[in-house]
């Protein structure tokens, strides 16, 4: 006796990995019918998006108010509609739709309206109120049909001019209709489900601004949420002055809830903007050995003191890979020139680029490296007591970077390459003498450029913490082009490890 298997299991096992390649003509058919996005979706700036949303909300509210006057004598009043998504197809005569049968079963009708020539009802269904629902007459009929106003040989749902029509018929046989065309709001990159609707007089022709809009989101019946659908039906019923009709339509909900909860309206979120704050230790150095202060100090050892930079930045994603970023930072630099000696004298030959203050004007500085004293050295200077120390030149800047970044790797851990330039605006600088633990400011440098440029190059490592937050570490190398005028061979650059948090929206 062969072993037996339950029929369910037989099918489950056989179909578990069932796959079959469709004919190539299938893809071609899809390709032809896909909306051609000939206009490139350019990302719009944030304020446009916000403005678009605000305007739509305003219009929607206004229109909702206008579209819902109290029912009068059951006549269909022509209503001005500000929503160009609603369109009436005057060629469809509702009488051609077979909706007079008052039995409580589903019915099919696929009818051609020969009078209109090229309009066809693709599919329609009629739902009558379930007996079990709220004390409503049982012969209410709500008919939903998908109407296409163009035909093609293969399929009736070809072009962008499909319309959903909802007819509601009460027991007296009065029918009111709602029409809706495909509607997508391009401006803010979302697929809008307009809950608002209007009832149009049969004879009134509306010319929607968007009828020539390229085909886009189509609120098929089965994806109208329960509330949307109820709202539409309620409106219809209001029109014919009857009670409200709750008709549950949870098919779409169930299918969505199989794995995830249904959201009533889904917005397409493209996170284009990011803001970040960062803190960076800065390591300065110089290519070349000159001195910006005086040529006599050229041989001296220079040391850069590690400093910090901090600031905020903003980044805008042009597309998936490229972004543009800018920001504002505070940057401080400090260079020390070591091995100098100084003494207090009455007549000082100052460093070429030092603009001394009152203290500085009495201090003679010499390099211990340089065997030759400055020209016109003062005899008195040789006799005075010499002290030893170093010169510290500090500058502080406001840095405004402008950089492009390229995403090499996108994932929880991300890697990008960053390049660009910064503008450095000098806020203040000072030169000081440091010796034996004390510091005396002796003046400022006169050859620092107030506006400087750096070229920046670096990498960005990011780690996504939670949904829109990332932690970043970006080592960046910045070369200063015109830090000083006449600085000999002193070409400063710095390297910063920018770390911080990033927030996208």
């Amino acid at each position: 006796m062969k072993d037996k298997k339950h029929i369910d299991r037989l099918f489950q096992e056989k179909f578990r990995d069932f796959e079959m390649t469709p004919p190539e003509s299938s893809w071609r058919g899809i390709q032809e019918r896909l909306p051609k996005s000939s206009k490139k979706r350019r990302p719009l700036p944030l304020w446009w998006s916000l403005g678009g949303v605000a305007a739509s909300l305003l219009l929607g509210t206004l229109w909702w108010k206008i579209a819902h006057p109290l029912p009068t004598d059951g006549n269909l009043q022509p209503n001005a509609t500000e929503n160009p998504g609603w369109v009436q197809n005057p060629e469809i005569d509702p009488q051609t739709i077979d909706s007079q049968n008052s039995s409580a079963t589903d019915k099919t009708s696929i009818t051609n309206t020969t009078s209109s020539g090229n309009s066809q009802i693709v599919s329609s269904e009629t739902v009558t109120t379930p007996q079990a629902s709220v004390g409503v007459p049982s012969n209410f009929k709500v008919e939903k049909s998908i109407v296409s106003s163009e035909t093609s040989n293969r399929s009736l749902k070809s072009k962008s001019s499909e319309t959903i029509r909802i007819n509601t018929t009460n027991s007296q046989g009065t029918t009111s209709s709602l029409f809706k065309k495909r509607n997508e709001d391009w401006a803010n990159g979302t697929q809008t489900r307009t809950k608002s609707n209007s009832v149009l007089n049969q004879n009134q022709v509306e010319d929607p601004a968007e009828s020539s809009n390229e085909s886009s989101a189509f609120n098929t019946l089965n994806t109208l949420s329960a509330q949307d659908f109820q709202a539409l039906v309620h409106t219809n019923l209001d029109r014919i002055g009857t009670m409200q009709l709750p008709i549950p339509y949870p098919m779409g909900e169930i299918l969505h809830e199989k794995e995830e909860p249904l959201k009533a309206s889904k917005e397409q979120k493209i996170n284009r903007w990011q803001v970040h704050s960062y803190l960076a230790p800065i390591y300065l150095s110089s290519a070349g050995n000159g001195s910006p202060l005086d040529v006599s100090l050229a041989q001296n050892k220079k040391e850069a003191v590690p400093t910090y930079s901090y600031g905020v930045g903003v980044e805008y994603s042009i597309n998936n890979r490229w972004s543009l970023r800018s920001g504002i930072n505070a940057l401080n630099t400090e260079y020390r020139t070591k091995d100098v000696s100084f003494s207090q004298v009455t007549s000082v030959v100052g460093l070429s680029h030092l603009e001394s203050n009152s203290a500085g004007s009495m201090i003679q500085i010499e390099s211990m490296e340089s065997p030759v004293l400055m020209a016109a050295s003062n005899v008195n200077a040789m006799a005075a007591e010499k002290l030893y120390g170093e010169i510290s030149q500090r500058s502080s800047f406001i840095e405004i970077p402008l950089e492009l970044s390229y995403k090499i790797w996108d994932g929880r851990l991300g890697l990008k390459a960053i390049g660009g330039f910064s503008t450095l605006l000098l806020r203040d600088d000072n030169v000081a003498l440091i010796s034996g633990g004390t510091q005396v400011t002796i003046g400022t440098a006169d050859n620092i450029n107030k506006t400087q440029w750096t070229s920046n190059l670096g990498l960005g490592l990011s780690y996504r913490l939670i949904k829109d937050f990332e932690f970043k570490i970006e080592p960046m190398f910045k070369y200063q082009w015109n830090a000083y005028r006449n600085s000999g061979n002193f070409k400063p650059y710095f390297f910063g490890l920018y770390t911080g948090l990033n927030y996208q929206f």
Partner: protein
């Protein structure tokens, strides 16, 4: 490009990404269409319509859950929608069938044949059988999706099983007359 990126590209209506997604998933989704449709021609139509819907709605996918599962739901949903208008033309019996009656010999029956007999089932039986047995929905869910009662769903399933079993037995009788 990984799948997430492809999806994002599709959300931006990138034609190459759309084709890639089609190439990746069309075999599985065509299989789904074949099970739910009456024949290959209808399945091809449903595949096309389904993919067009998928590409339209892809902006609604929120990257929480399986993308393949999401696409499959859109596809099935669309097919159910198509057949809803036709199901009332069939007559459905309501009866219960004991479970033991649904066992059959564990012979190797070709897949083509099994697919064919599923396709030959009356619409509602075919829907219910696929949804319950192969795609794992519960009777409650099926009842809501098809707007029937759970009792109807159960009896439709029972009837579908009986029909399928009868066909398989008849098939084996023809193929292996000596085994009986």
């Amino acid at each position: 490009m990984n799948l997430d990126e492809l999806i994002r590209e599709c959300q931006q209506y990138n034609a190459q990404a759309q084709e890639q997604i089609y190439r990746l998933f069309s075999s599985k989704l065509f299989a789904v269409c074949l099970k739910y449709s009456r024949n290959q021609a209808e399945a091809e139509d449903h595949l096309q319509d389904g993919f067009l819907l998928i590409f339209e709605k892809i902006g609604q996918f929120q990257f929480n859950g399986s993308f393949e599962g999401w696409m499959k739901r859109v596809m099935i949903n669309n097919i159910l929608q198509q057949y809803r208008k036709l199901t009332s033309l069939d007559v459905y019996l309501q009866e219960d069938v004991a479970d033991e009656d649904l066992e059959i010999d564990n012979d190797d029956i070709p897949m083509d044949y099994l697919l064919k007999i599923i396709q030959e089932l009356p619409h509602r039986y075919r829907m219910v059988f696929n949804l319950y047995v192969i795609d794992g929905y519960s009777h409650k869910e099926i009842a809501e999706m098809l707007q029937i009662t759970t009792g109807t769903s159960k009896s439709n399933l029972a009837r579908a099983r009986i029909l399928l079993k009868e066909k398989i037995i008849a098939y084996k009788a023809k193929k292996f007359p000596s085994a009986l």
